[in-house]
Symmetry: C2
Subunit: 211 residues, 2 copies
Amino acid sequence: MKDKISDAVVKRLPVYLRYLEDLLNEGVEHISSNELSGRIGFTASQIRQDLNNFGGFGQQGYGYNVEGLHREIKGILGLDHEYAMVIVGLGNLGRAIANHTKYYKMGFPIIGMFDVNPDLIGMRINDIEVQDSKNLPEFLRTHHVDIGIITTTKEAAQMIADQMVEGGVKGIWNFAPLDLKVPKRVPVGSVHVTDTLNSLVYHIVHPDQRS
Amino acid sequence: MKDKISDAVVKRLPVYLRYLEDLLNEGVEHISSNELSGRIGFTASQIRQDLNNFGGFGQQGYGYNVEGLHREIKGILGLDHEYAMVIVGLGNLGRAIANHTKYYKMGFPIIGMFDVNPDLIGMRINDIEVQDSKNLPEFLRTHHVDIGIITTTKEAAQMIADQMVEGGVKGIWNFAPLDLKVPKRVPVGSVHVTDTLNSLVYHIVHPDQRS
DNA sequence: TAGATTGTTAATCGATTAACAATC
DNA sequence: TAGATTGTTAATCGATTAACAATC
């Protein structure tokens, strides 16, 4: 593997994975960078460059084996392990994620749920009881947790992030509309939902700007 | 305004907006590119370059007026109008968005809700009755709709997108895990939630790669 | 006026694309 | 073997950063 993989490449890996899943479902056995380019919209050259950052997965004259490449990319992304998660904030968005059984199936079980709202504490979601957020530090001390999900308000998010870092989570999946301050060793993946709406509106009001 | 604004710049505009809102709330009147750099994490040079794509909003020796710049960026993003939206798919995620009163307050009212599930049809969310998805084309013919929100399954999403395009929406806000095929004139803003989790996991399993 | 800070050009850096020899 | 297609180097393109004259 190359010394340093650019973030642009890392962000494309999940996209490759999605298209390879489609190909698997269609029963396609192998695919050339050129055919894949036609589906995914990246240039064939970029596809070959991207994949070669991690190894020579293709075969000249044949292309890439779909099943093999799918397995390789899952491995590169780290999707061949399980990751225990906790979620803090069970408002509309938090409950949507906590209810989403897909994450359990994907190997991302949510093993703890926390909120400050007394109406929510005690509620059961997917067989997990929502606890008071003040129990979070203790929970992190006594359970192995890989990923902390933050679906709190903007105001509460940084404090929760601090507790998660202190509690030793390996990464934070953030849905609150702010940029969390955490030590460099703890990666944060943020989903800035409203930002995507705002830039969509930009493209709506600037039709001349479209590529 | 410059001929062509790069997508990198457009994606940063909502970020500027968020930080300017914080500054407004703190009562900060003006800020230099250098101070803003300290908060937002972009270089001062990049901030000045970005803003100068749209006009000279600053003043030498003083910096940028927070309120003025905030208003300018809202205008550039097109956030000074209202946008009527419809949402199709009222599963966990769809209901979370439909329930989120924030979008109404921001000027993005949801005026129509659609699902195929008989258990959901007839339900009222924020005073709007969920209709059968088969009514979508007729609804789009008879109402002015700017933005279509897709929170359906991956399988249904493309068909709904086609109906939205046919029905004349100006943009699509997509939460289904696929890349929609639409004419170039219709911008799509996609929120690939699972992709962000996958790239977060990449960073967790590759601690050496962190910048 | 002097100091601060922008607006803007030029330099650098990094990512994407093109090209083609290697090879299945 | 001949044709197809990768792996990889080189060229190009675009985005970021640096520098500084303009100016408030």
